[in-house]
Amino acid sequence: MTLQQDAEGNERKYLHAFADFSNKRVLEIGCGEGRLTWKYAPASSLTVGLDLDQDALRVALIDSPHDLKRKLFFTRAQSEHIPFSKETFDIAVLAWSL
């Protein structure tokens, strides 16, 4: 299949227009395979991707760009029980998941 997504780059454009990710700690809820994650994680100081789908998280981990490995983490958890203490993140992204 020759699927192309968002050839115009609108998603990236709007995401960065709506939040400044520079040196921010970001939590992404519903990160899946990390398709959206790669679009802002390079600017962040820390990015955590949350998802319930273990297979998708495995793909995200494998596909993680090498230069992001030190600041990018994935964890399997429900959004109703986020395994972090209060006030850990500057930005949360609900990625196609509400």
Partner: protein, 142 residues
């Protein structure tokens, strides 16, 4: 969903930002596209399950706002396109990824296949998804 928003608020700093990015059902348009022309061949059908899903998400965010957890700062719509080499690839994708949420009627399927078959060598099929992006700011506790 409201519980999830409460959790998100808990882990965000005061004045932290929540970005809600999601597709909204709105009878997304289907086009047959080549370098020479763009032809709309129909629109997908929105199914009750998908519409209820959108409604539920909207209600949860409204509730979070009414609870004083978040303040809506900014909101916009934009288009997110998917495109395929052939109509059959699109039909298979809709069936697999959006089963129960959206579908295509026979007339749209026929019109899309026909326009694609008569198109140039570079002709593709495109689905334009309506996206909603909203910026919410954590409201500080009194």
């Amino acid at each position: 969903m409201v519980h999830a928003l409460s959790e998100i608020r808990r882990v965000l700093i005061p004045n932290g930002i929540l970005i809600d990015l999601r597709p909204l059902l709105d009878r997304w348009s289907i086009e047959v596209v080549s370098a020479r022309e763009i032809k709309e061949t129909g629109r997908v059908q929105d199914f009750p399950l998908g519409l209820a899903d959108d409604e539920s998400a909207n209600k949860s965010l409204t509730q979070a706002g009414q609870n004083g957890w978040f303040n809506r700062n900014r909101e916009e719509y934009f288009s997110y396109s998917y495109s395929w080499d052939t109509p059959k690839e699109m039909e298979a994708w809709i069936e697999e990824e959006w089963e129960g949420f959206i579908g295509m009627d026979e007339e749209t399927i026929r019109a899309t296949r026909s326009a694609w078959a008569l198109g140039d060598a570079d002709t593709r099929v495109r689905l334009n998804v309506k996206m909603l992006i909203t910026q919410w700011k954590v409201m500080n506790e009194p």
